[in-house]
């Protein structure tokens, strides 16, 4: 029993070590800044300027987009880069489970999303005078959204390639598609039944809904359901990453 407790403590410490290393090495790299930091703000201003969007609604939208884009930026950039320069082998050969490594990598994207959404929140509070009606729900939404979207990015990053471009292209494409079907620009309540049914397949729908609850005080779905879907999608999305890593070990990539 003690042996297992020690092992779990080791694995948690190793995931933390991997995450901290990535924070130091990659956060200021152009790929992360472009796809993680600037993209959500560009997107927000592109689709919000000249549209009659209330301040609170705009802040809820900005927060959802920030968490979504930023969390998903790390995986597709970091893992193929590390495969290309050979440092990923160092991690794969280390005495830790694959799940530990993947959770460490998930944390990198999640931390990035939490930090950048903090900037977005601050901007909302200072420049738009927005008040947060349910701070606890906001924190839970950001944390679980960051986890869910980071594992989505990780799934792309786990594709057996050494070229970040091979991964960033399809992952960006998917994120754009999700952005337009998920009730970010058109509220769920205004969607046609078919479009709304499609929106329910996207985790971003639930992140946007929970932000609406937290900032506007109302949403379409039960906020507990939103949080549960975000947590569950994060766990489920680890599965393709594990499978692709196992496949990469067979293919030798």
């Amino acid at each position: 029993m003690n042996q297992w407790i020690e092992r779990i403590k080791d694995e948690v410490a190793q995931a933390w070590t991997v995450a901290l290393k990535d924070v130091r090495v990659y956060y200021l790299r152009p790929g992360m800044i472009m796809f993680g930091f600037l993209m959500p703000f560009f997107m927000f201003f592109s689709f919000s300027v000249r549209r009659e969007v209330g301040a609170a609604e705009g802040v809820a939208r900005l927060l959802a987009m920030t968490v979504f884009f930023t969390a998903g930026a790390a995986g597709p950039f970091i893992i193929p880069t590390e495969r290309a320069i050979g440092t990923y082998d160092r991690l794969l050969a280390a005495p830790m489970s694959l799940l530990t490594l993947l959770l460490g990598k998930t944390a990198v994207g999640a931390f990035f999303a939490i930090a950048v959404s903090g900037v977005a929140l601050l901007a909302g509070l200072l420049f738009f005078g927005t008040t947060i009606l349910q701070p606890g729900l906001l924190v839970a939404g950001i944390l679980l959204g960051a986890f869910s979207f980071s594992t989505l990015g990780l799934a792309f990053g786990s594709m057996p390639t050494t070229n970040p471009g091979d991964v960033q292209m399809p992952s960006t494409l998917l994120r754009w598609v999700l952005l337009f079907i998920s009730g970010v620009f058109i509220p769920l309540s205004d969607m046609a039944p078919v479009a709304r049914a499609i929106a329910y397949f996207s985790p971003l729908t639930y992140a946007q809904d929970v932000m609406n609850h937290a900032v506007l005080g109302s949403g379409l779905l039960n906020p507990w359901l939103d949080l549960a879907v975000l947590a569950l999608s994060g766990i489920v999305l680890l599965w393709p990453s594990i499978k692709m890593h196992q496949r990469a070990r067979v293919l030798g990539r």
Partner: protein, 331 residues
């Protein structure tokens, strides 16, 4: 003594391409074991399977008696890996690279700084500990990469092509370190295509060719088993280009090659060939400048086994100096 590595029937297919073909070998604890082979022979594929980076298609690997297919965790704790590319984090300093690896391998917190300092001093990097690795030379990155691989004091160290492209001083320093680690009890598995490196370091070598183990023994026994690669090297005064083809027709000569201003004649019986060469010189009124007999080098053995052209493919900087005896032997 127990085996550090046991490989049974190890096989790897990449799709339909057979890279490693049912190989078997063992490495005893405390050995320096060389894994030699030409490019594409299956060396790195084998090493990647031994270090859990690649899943075998078939076969079994035991590392210090731990079966990798069942639970690789205890084996991974005992392994240090230096890959072919120096995979250091160039954005981090030498110190931070070592502290990261120490933390990853769960080196006790109180020992990390002490070990990092020892290694940086050993590798001549202490003065540069706070400089980012992106500013390091290739040799410095290599040394840092090795330091990162041994900070947790592994009992089994894998080195993939440890010295290509390094200057002679760095090569000697790395060889010395490997010998010292081995003397302290570390088993070393070196994958290399540099024959002199294997000859200088390894107690035993395996030669892999086309995915199969072609030979496995001590370097000296391998050389002894290839008596037919003995040769006689002769230099005549003046230009003998026209007459040299006649030398190949002398009884006992299997093949000949020109080496600089000398002619090397391969034979199974150098002592019988010597008087024939003298007789040839006298009959053609040639003056012999030097006449040496050469025992086979590990490179000769390697080329013979791997199907290379014996005695013609040479890398000057790495060439093994064959044992010379007889008239005109160099001092």
């Amino acid at each position: 003594m127990n085996n550090a590595i046991e490989v049974e029937n190890l096989t790897k297919y990449y799709d339909k391409f057979l890279a490693v073909d049912h190989i078997n070998f063992t490495v005893k604890q405390g050995e320096i074991f060389g894994f030699l082979g030409p490019n594409g022979a299956g060396k790195t594929t084998t090493q990647r399977m031994l270090t859990t980076l690649l899943t075998p298609t078939e076969g079994r690997i035991l590392i210090n008696e731990h079966d990798l297919s069942r639970d690789s965790y205890p084996a991974k704790r005992q392994i240090g890996l230096v890959p072919e590319e120096s995979n250091v984090y160039t954005e981090l300093t030498a110190w931070d690279n070592l502290m990261f690896t120490a933390s990853l391998y769960r080196v006790p917190r109180g020992e990390r700084a002490k070990r990092a300092q020892e290694l940086l001093e050993t590798f001549g990097l202490w003065e540069k500990r706070n400089i980012k690795a992106e500013n390091f030379s290739k040799g410095m990155r290599r040394r840092l990469s090795i330091a990162m691989a041994i900070i947790h004091k592994p009992s089994l160290l894998f080195l993939d092509e440890p010295t290509p492209g390094l200057d002679a001083q760095s090569i000697r320093a790395i060889w010395e370190l490997i010998r010292r680690m081995n003397a302290e009890g570390t088993t070393v598995f070196i994958t290399t295509h540099q024959i002199e490196e294997a000859n200088q370091l390894c107690g035993r070598v395996a030669i892999i060719s086309h995915g199969k183990i072609a030979a496995i023994d001590t370097p000296e026994r391998l050389k002894a088993n290839f008596r037919r690669t003995q040769s006689v090297e002769v230099a005549f005064e003046g230009d003998v280009t026209e007459k040299s083809p006649v030398l190949e027709t002398l009884p006992g000569v299997t093949t000949q090659t020109k080496v600089g201003d000398k002619i090397r004649l391969y034979t199974e019986d150098p002592s019988a060939l010597l008087p024939r060469i003298i007789q040839f010189a006298e009959s053609h009124t040639l003056r012999v400048v030097s006449l040496n007999t050469l025992s086979p080098s590990l490179e000769d053995v390697f080329l013979e086994i791997t199907g290379g052209q014996m005695g013609t493919v040479r890398n000057e900087s790495l060439e093994e100096k064959p044992a010379r005896r007889g008239k005109g032997a160099r001092k």
